[in-house]
Amino acid sequence: MRTIIRVLPVTPAVVLLLLFLAGPIAYCAYIAFTDLQLTGQAEESFIGFENFRTAFGDEAFLNAVWLTLVFTVVSALIGQNTLGLALAALMQRASKPVRTLTGGIVIAAWVLPEVVAGFLLYAFFRREGTLNAILDWLHLPSQNWLFTLPILAVSFANVWRGTAFSMLVYSAALNEIPKEITEAAEVDGAGGWRRMWHITLPMIRRSIGTNLMLITLQTLSVFGLIWVMTRGGPGGKSQTLPLFMYEEAFQKSMIGYGTAVALLLLVVGSLFSAVYLRLLRTEV
């Protein structure tokens, strides 16, 4: 009786969660095992693991997995993460006006809708774009970046857009470090790098883990930015898993196959998360 009364208040929330969250996910998981198409098919049928077999035999899929890893490592783990930390550390010492200005600019990039950011960076990288104008002015050779180095161009775009998030997380974490500890280390003669390595980093370790997990998951699902800048091209050279999935599901109408790819993307995301969760669990 008591358990029932205790459970009762959460029932509506649980029911809604089941309906809106678990329901669609379960349905997606089911579709991934069928050959459902958007058009050109009277009835779908259950085909077991066929979609997954197709995926691992499909060069375009393997290419997309590789590009997704490159994109995530370059733009999130290296780019956003280190740049965010560096900015946060530098801003700790900066004067107030500098701090406000830098913070404002970085956060503006983050506040912009993904599609708008995509257009801005498309305009920056395209052949008649800002970057080439600057290079011309410096008498350096220019090129069509979106065509020659598409995956790096979109990675840069993602760093540009997403760094603010890491910066905010790390700013908060750095503010939490008690001043006495840093001061004590300074008195003991530890230089900047040593303080960073032996005090700051270990103390913000948990924030690093949380931040890495969140930006990885965000980056894995980036679609609009790449779609606007390159549409995954040229020749699939910037086609990460979300774009590959979109093409299979909606342009080639293979909903079943596309959903299977989406499930695999989910697996990639959970692998990354598992690693970070381990990192979080170990106490300093």
């Binding site: 979106l146 342009q251 109408s253």
Partner: protein
Amino acid sequence: MPVRPTAARITIVLTLAAATALTACGSGSGDDPDTVKVSFKQSTDNNIKVMDNFLADIKEEFEKKYPGKKVEFIPIKAPDSEYYTKLQQMLRSPKTAPDLVYEDTFLINSDITSGYLKPLDDYLANWPDWNQFIDTAKEAAKGENGKTYGVPDGTDTRGLWYDKAIFKKAGLPATWQPKTWDDVLDAARTIKEKVPDVTPLNVYTGKPAGEAATMQGFEMLLYGTNDGKTDPLYDSSSKKWIAGSQGFRDALTFVETVYKEKLGPDVSDALDPNFGTRVRGELLPQGKLGIDLDGSWLPQDWLEGSGHEWPQWSQKLGLAAMPTQHGQAPGKVSMSGGWTWAIPDKAANPDLAFDFIKTMQTKANAQKWYVANSGIAVREDVANDPAYAEAQPGIKFFTDLVASTHYRPAYPAYPKVSTAIQEAMEGVTTGDASVEEAAKNYDEELKTATDDQVIEK
């Protein structure tokens, strides 16, 4: 334990309440018997309102003719490929299916197979105007079961547009009609040499261009490689798709030549998804493109009220038919497609939707539409009307091409085959693949796309 059932009951009640709330969200105003909901493809260019304006007039006429009835538009503003996707998603459920949709003949068979559309034969039998439609156009909207699923609102043909001023500078003839592919390439080479600051020849290519690459680009070449009678993509006697043909490799070689010799646009421009808009809006009007292999509908962007008015185009541009590969009979080649009005299987008010089609397709309204969107007439009474032929420069040229035109094998696998063609084109355009490699990849893709319904020829 007398309490348990109560708790269970409460849970059930809550579930039901939630379910009811959900259903209520979905149904909306979908079932109003006096409103016909019409979905159409709105131009992604905000300046182009050709269809919006035409439909607004029809709405007015319709609401006057059927008092008490209302027309509600559901415009879908998207590029072609995304329009199809959005439409197919809407057609899946009675809650979202409109009463009337604008369907590309490119996908109509695929959507018929999915059961998305309603056969119109009963309506057409009682509609005298249907006899005015030419047979090839009627075929385009027919399913494999012989039933008709759409009313075509025009067709299109394709050919070569050339810039007379650039031709003059390059020392090429003012009235130009190439006899073979080599003639086209030679003209482009001459332009490249004599007028270096323009793009000599545009052939749409690669996945970003989508169906434009397949139809305006590749198929305009491929269908000119054989005798002009048999289909080089699909073998109708064995009902199989054709792999490994010499014609396929020849067409790829043409594309490769255009981009390897830099006769075409810069590869990075050609693979820009918005390139088609730039060709019509910038390159041609600004005199920066020598020859453009493109569709009959181009002038609709240049009409008055389109935002890119260019009434002088007919003095500045010349028109030539695309020749066959070696000039073999029938000497010229064109491809045709077009759009139809179709009624979804899940439409709430199909009868009213057909009344709307009838209002759109009176002779006068059909003629108005062909002229407004630079379409080619599919009604004999309009085609024979001198007022139509003289309404715009170019109409006669493109209507005459109907005699040597081809329709695509628009079976359910076609969209996937088309993507495979675009990938092959993209490979040779960027230089990532040789013609042999690209053709081999196509053959493999073709097997997957068609469930192995492939024949070597």
